[in-house]
Amino acid sequence: MSKERIKIAPEMFDIMPSEYQDLVDRATYGKEGRGWKDIGTSKELIEEHSLCAGCPESMAFRYILASLPAPEDTVMVGSTGCTSLVFPHVGVHNIHSLFGNQNAIASGLKRALSVRFPGQVKDVVVLAGDGATVDIGLDMTLQAWFRQEKFTTICFDNELYANTGGQESGLMQKGFVAKMAPVGKTFEKVKLPEIARESGCHYVVNCTVSKPNLVEKVIKNAIHVAREIGPTYLQLYTPCILEIGKNSMEGLQEMRDSEKPTERFAYKEYVSDEAKELLTELAAKEKERKAAAKKQLAEKQLAGKA
């Protein structure tokens, strides 16, 4: 979408909602090198949301939306769950249809956009909870990877069904006592990152969302690799503080505790050879861009002094 499309006719400007005025004036559609550092200085692509106070999902949403490389040409696909409470507040097109079919929706969507906009960037990003990704939707998650569909799958892993009140999920840890696991979960946390690698994903990361710069990096990598090569998968720990008995202020610490080297969300990454090559190339280009920008800034400053 060209930025021209969202411009408001001057005669109509004052009657538009202030959120929309902000989106036009201060959002980062089309901004090169956009990232988490824009948060606080520009209009974010997420307005208020209706998640619980202190929910790590809300942090994840803000970082992810700030890091999309091309939000003006990105369509997101969600599923049923806490994430579906947020999507109505998001400034990119997004689809909710059923519970668990997100990777099937994204497969059809990506193909339709490729037919309709050949040669143009149209990123598709799936964002769903662990119940949707690993339990009810596992078939469609894996099949999209087998078929090498070119979109990114993000799983918000909170290790249970949060939205329905804390029931056992496949990504729950063994032994955890929850609704529908009255004597504790009897089997291990499903190893989806490993399965993703074996299923043909070219870029797989397992981590928490405690560090915004890390989230930005993995989101950008995952989307670029999906755009050019094939499927990518991010499993992000977004603990449900409500269901694990934590307070609003304790989400960040919970993530920090869980990402220690011996813990289950220690940073893990898999990058295929093809993806490595692409990411190296992109990193070099980014370096060049930054150097050029720095040079330009220095010249400007010099000119200003002169």
Binding site: R5, G91, L98, I105, S107, G108, K110, R111, D139, R147
Partner: protein, 402 residues
């Protein structure tokens, strides 16, 4: 309109984009002798489809595979095999959300497996076309013709049409897109036929020229935004209605359901124009009427001829569309009838129930004969049932024990 302005230009496969009305009603037709599956392929060749998603299930597998050949020849933008009917119907939804003209086919247990998608398609206003080649859905496993699955589609909010012949099929596939893509309709269409009887038998079908195709789908005529990020995103709501138990939430859901059904109603005028009416009546003044849909109509015609030999005059009402339901048409067509016979290829007699709920003096309706599980419906059975109903002694039919 954008799509009309493309008339006269060529599409991706070099076909000339043609005004749909002219193509269907004025262009020269040439006869072919094809199976129903081949006829589906020929219709889709001319439908300017963007995406087709396939899955094997008897009796639609052949048609779904033949459309793959069309893709290989460049007539379709993209084509692939999904992993199950549930997934396929979601993939179709994704493609339609992205602004594509979408086609798929399914049958029997596939229809049932995919069922959760259909109210979603209608609610999301996706004008997907799905061919349903009906077959048994009972246990033990059956692949034989049986139309029970249609009854499950009737309350999904989809348009539901029931083709009798391969010629219906050919014309209705193409006309179906024209109706379901109208901005005031914009709903999915389940175009049903009786599996095997239509898909696997050969018939003479008159085809429109192969170098002509429908105008492309214009997703920007949709009443809801196309999810391609080509129009500004809006913040849809402050509080998602799914989580709220309050009046505004209820009213939103209620009004949207009403709007979907209002769109089904609005399809009536377009359907009447394109299909030349929602029903077709032969001998409206007869006291005995056979009212049916699908191939039961063909068998009814044979029974009509048999009874004529015995001096019994029977009229035929062919119901073409089940949604929209031709309520007023059926009421008018049956107003003079004393006996209304509704033969069906299913065990429950859903069509008879619909008719009973529509007309005054519903005790005029005789629900049957019913055959199911793949049984054929010999015209002799219909004729014998009519005679029995009228109290006329009929010769016993072999094997019926009567």
């Amino acid at each position: 309109m954008a799509t009309q302005s493309l008339v006269g230009t060529k599409n991706r496969s070099g076909q000339v984009v043609t005004d749909a009305w002219k193509m269907m009603h004025e262009a020269e037709r040439s006869p072919c002798f094809f199976t129903g599956s081949e006829v589906i392929k020929e219709a889709i060749r001319r439908a300017n489809c963007d995406v087709m998603i396939a899955y094997p299930i008897t009796p639609q597998s052949e048609a779904a595979a033949l459309i793959g050949e069309l893709f290989a020849e460049g007539f379709i933008g993209d084509y692939f095999r999904g992993e199950s009917e549930f997934a396929v119907m979601s993939q179709c939804a994704g493609a339609a959300f992205g602004g594509a003209r979408v086609f798929t086919t399914t049958a029997g247990p596939g229809t049932m497996r995919a069922m959760e998608n259909f109210p979603m398609w209608a609610g999301a206003r996706l004008p997907i076309q799905m061919i349903v080649t009906c077959r048994g859905i009972n246990s033990p496993l059956s692949i034989q013709p049986d139309t029970l699955e249609i009854s499950y589609l009737l309350n999904t909010g989809m348009l539901v049409w029931h083709a009798e012949t391969a010629q219906d099929f050919y014309d209705w596939i193409l006309k179906g897109y024209m109706v379901s893509e109208e901005p005031d309709v914009h709903l999915p269409l389940a175009l049903c036929c009786d599996g095997f009887f239509v898909t696997h038998t050969k018939d003479v079908v008159n085809l429109t020229p192969a170098d002509m195709c429908l105008p492309p789908y214009d997703p920007y005529r949709s009443p809801v935004p196309c999810m391609d990020m080509e129009c500004p995103p809006v913040r849809m709501m402050r509080d998602p209605f799914v989580m709220k138990s309050n009046y505004i939430s209820y009213a939103t859901h209620a009004s949207w359901q009403q709007e979907v059904w209002a769109a089904v109603e609005r399809s009536r005028k377009h359907t009447i124009r394109w299909l030349d009416g929602l029903i077709e009546v032969d001998r409206p003044d007869a006291e005995i009427l056979i009212v049916s849909s699908g191939t039961a109509v063909s068998q009814g015609r044979e029974a009509q001829a048999l009874l004529e030999e015995d001096g019994i005059e029977v009229g035929i009402v062919k119901v073409k569309t089940l949604r929209p339901w031709p309520e007023e048409e059926i009421r008018q067509a049956t107003k003079n009838a004393k006996h209304i016979i509704v033969p069906e290829f299913n065990v429950t007699g859903w069509l008879a129930k619909e008719i009973r709920a529509t007309i005054p003096d519903a005790d005029r309706v005789y629900a049957g004969p019913h055959v199911c599980g793949g049984m054929t419906m010999p015209p002799e059975v219909i004729a014998a049932d009519i005679k029995k109903h009228l109290g006329i002694k009929a010769e016993s039919l072999a094997g019926r024990g009567s």
